[in-house]
């Protein structure tokens, strides 16, 4: 056998063993993600009932969706919810990480405390916040009463329901961004801060010119990850408001759930899911392009 043939054979063997390592995950990916994705796309082109019977109708579900005021309202709600939560989660997470990025015992305790809400289930979180927000004996109502103000019906007021869910979500989800920022901050070489101190940089200048550029990639990951997560708002709205009052807190996923599993119109629900998928895909691609355009460091 000649040398190039031997090399080719070795490379092929390596590729085969590599493929064997990848195969289990690839199989799960195809069966659990890829197949449902394309199956959902195909389903969205049908008028289909959850309990049988489907008819190909082309893009009619999509044209219906863009005329559906409730769906469009849910898209607006979801976008507003993302605007309310993602900047807050990013900035508060960063602020907490900056404040707690030291070796003191107090910071260690506070880090654990702030992260602890993340391990609770959505049911527990929403129960806690219902107890805080309900106007009849809730914590917020008690506090307002102490300063002589009437109770506010946070969850039944069309203007306040979604912000109330946003506050609940921020409280629930703040642990992960904080931890990601903490991990990033601990990767910044200490001698950069020492160089900045010798370069007469004050606290703000050091934050803006040394810290933030050094954790830019993590900030981008946090923003995009939170956009993707918060577009999928479901449990909090389902348990706290059922999307009300008058669909004021109805997010896309709850709309999909109601259409698919309460009205059994799974073709229409699949079409709404595809639109949500496109929105999330756009956010993921934004992460990809932004990360690719990052200057080398």
């Amino acid at each position: 056998m000649t040398a190039p043939r031997k090399a080719w054979s070795a490379a092929a063997g390596e590729a085969r063993s590599g493929a064997l390592f990848v195969a289990p995950y690839l199989l799960a990916f195809i069966v659990l993600l890829l197949y449902p994705l394309f199956s959902g796309m195909w389903l969205s082109l049908h008028k289909a009932d959850l309990f049988g019977g489907s008819q190909f109708i082309g893009v009619e579900n999509y044209t219906r969706l863009f005329r559906d005021a409730v769906f469009l309202h849910s898209v607006r709600n979801t976008c507003w919810f993302v605007v309310l939560t993602v900047p807050a989660l990013t900035l508060i997470g960063l602020g907490l990480a900056l404040a707690l990025n030291n070796g003191s015992r107090r910071s260690a305790i506070l880090r654990g405390l702030f992260f602890s809400s993340s391990v609770l289930s959505v049911t527990i979180v929403t129960l806690i916040w219902r107890m805080v927000l309900i106007p009849d004996g809730g914590l917020a109502a008690d506090l307002l009463a102490k300063v002589g103000l009437p109770p506010v019906p946070f969850l039944s007021d069309a203007q306040l329901a979604l912000p109330a869910i946003a506050v609940t979500t921020i409280w629930w989800c703040i642990g992960l961004p904080m931890m990601l920022f903490l991990a990033a901050l601990q990767q910044v070489p200490p001698d950069l801060y020492e160089a900045a101190a010798l370069d007469n940089a004050g606290r703000w200048r050091t934050l803006l010119c040394v810290t933030l550029p050094s954790i830019r990639r993590t900030a981008l990951v946090v923003v995009v990850m939170e956009i993707i997560l918060q577009f999928q708002l479901f449990g909090q709205a389902q348990i706290m408001t059922l999307g009300g009052p008058n669909n004021a807190s109805l997010p896309i996923v709850l709309f999909i759930y109601q259409i698919g599993f309460q009205r059994w119109d799974i073709g229409y629900a699949a079409a709404a899911s595809e639109i949500l998928f496109c929105i999330i895909l756009a956010a993921a691609m934004a992460q990809y392009f932004a990360a690719r355009g990052r200057p080398r460091a």
């Binding site: 070489p189 001698d191 950069l192 020492e194 160089a195 900045a196 101190a197 010798l198 370069d199 007469n200 940089a201 004050g202 200048r205 010119c209 040394v210 550029p213 050094s214 830019r216 200057p295 080398r296 460091a297």
Partner: protein
């Protein structure tokens, strides 16, 4: 004129003492190298001067002004870090400008200084690159440029060559020497590499166990080591240190005897030695001359020969089981296991007392 004065500097990390009553004065324009093994406190000393570490006691003065209460940026010092500490997201121009922008130097002046530094360090073509696009030597130059552009009173270098390969280290040593000649600013350079210390320094501060062992010119610390530590630390191969016993003196100069009975004359005044206690002799390898067996003061057996091109380091075993290193010519004839004769140069002999002090120059710091 005194540029930098340290008076009684002490520093502890918890229970560990890292600087112990350090006293030091550096003249304006002097290139001072702080040399010592890992953990001796030399980097902590540098960081304390820069303000990156607080001090527990003592004072630091720069150009006559007390600065130990000032933050790092207000002390008038610039530092080149071991890992360069360049801001990775800024290009070279912004890296160099950062410190002067922060103190409000006018834009035109900053541009002038950057251009001058870039020309001086031959890095005009690097100004728009980010650090990731530079080699180790180029990053080193940017770090130096960043220090120069601030026009500090004192330059500090924290083992700046330790990340470079041997060839580049040698070239950068020359560049450091050239830079100091050109700008004549006070420089404090920390290293554990004695070659860097010997080649660059106007004076060397040898540190050991958190204290200064000796301050002197390179030739002083080499030829007149104040302590056993300095004697062993400076020089490669290290000075031979052997236990000796005293023998009757002649003309006031102490004569000593090795473990195998070999007598060695020294130029150490007998009166300078302590009345009793063990002594050790220090002999630089070049003070030990190789000759034919029987032709010297004693014989030794060759154990190992290191051929270095222009010379050889010959490791020998004496009859008393003491080991000694001598420097031989490039064509040293003896082979491992063969006997050779040894001659000892009295002018190259040092005597150390039980406390490790060099009795030949008792007045040294």
């Amino acid at each position: 004129m005194i540029s930098l004065a340290l008076k009684g500097i002490s520093k502890r990390f918890g229970a560990a003492l890292v600087l112990d009553e350090v006293e030091l004065q550096v003249d304006a324009g002097e290139f001072l190298v702080v040399l010592g093994p890992s953990g001796c406190g030399k980097s902590t000393l540098l960081r304390a001067i820069a303000g990156l570490e607080s001090i527990d006691s003592g004072t630091i003065e720069i150009d006559g002004e007390r600065v130990d209460h000032l933050p790092p940026g207000k002390r008038g010092v610039a530092m080149v870090f071991q890992g360069y500490a360049l801001y990775p997201h800024m290009n070279v121009r912004d890296n160099i400008a950062f410190g002067v922008v922060n103190v409000g130097v006018p834009r035109a002046e900053i541009r002038r200084r950057i251009a001058e530094v870039a020309r001086m360090l031959e890095m005009q073509e690097l100004l728009d690159r980010v650090p990731a696009e530079l080699s180790g030597g180029q990053r080193q130059r940017v770090a130096i440029g960043r220090a120069i552009v601030k026009e500090p009173k004192v330059f500090m270098f924290d083992e700046p060559l330790s990340n470079l390969d041997a060839a580049l280290r040698s070239r950068m040593r020359q560049e450091f020497a050239g830079l100091h000649r050109r700008i004549r600013k006070t420089m404090v350079f920390v290293t554990h590499d004695q070659t860097e210390a010997m080649t660059l320094a106007d004076r060397i501060v040898v540190m050991n166990r958190q204290r200064i062992e000796q301050i002197g010119t390179p030739s002083e610390v080499y030829d007149r080591p104040a302590t056993l530590f300095v004697a062993e630390f400076i020089g490669s191969p290290a000075m031979n240190i052997l236990p000796v016993t005293r023998t009757p003196t002649a003309a006031g100069l102490q004569r000593v005897r090795l473990g195998d009975g070999t007598g060695i004359d020294t130029l150490v005044a007998a009166a300078a030695l302590p009345g009793d206690g063990p002594l050790r002799i220090g002999l630089r390898p070049e003070a030990v001359t190789l000759c034919a067996p029987g032709g010297g003061q004693t014989n030794a057996v060759v154990e190992f020969v290191e051929f270095l091109g222009d010379k050889t380091h010959v490791h020998l075993s004496l009859a008393g089981k003491d080991r000694i290193v001598a420097v031989g010519g490039a064509a040293f004839p003896a082979r491992v296991g063969e006997a050779v004769g040894l001659k000892f140069d009295p002018a190259g002999a040092h005597l150390f007392d039980s406390a490790g002090r060099n009795c030949r120059w008792p007045g040294l710091p």
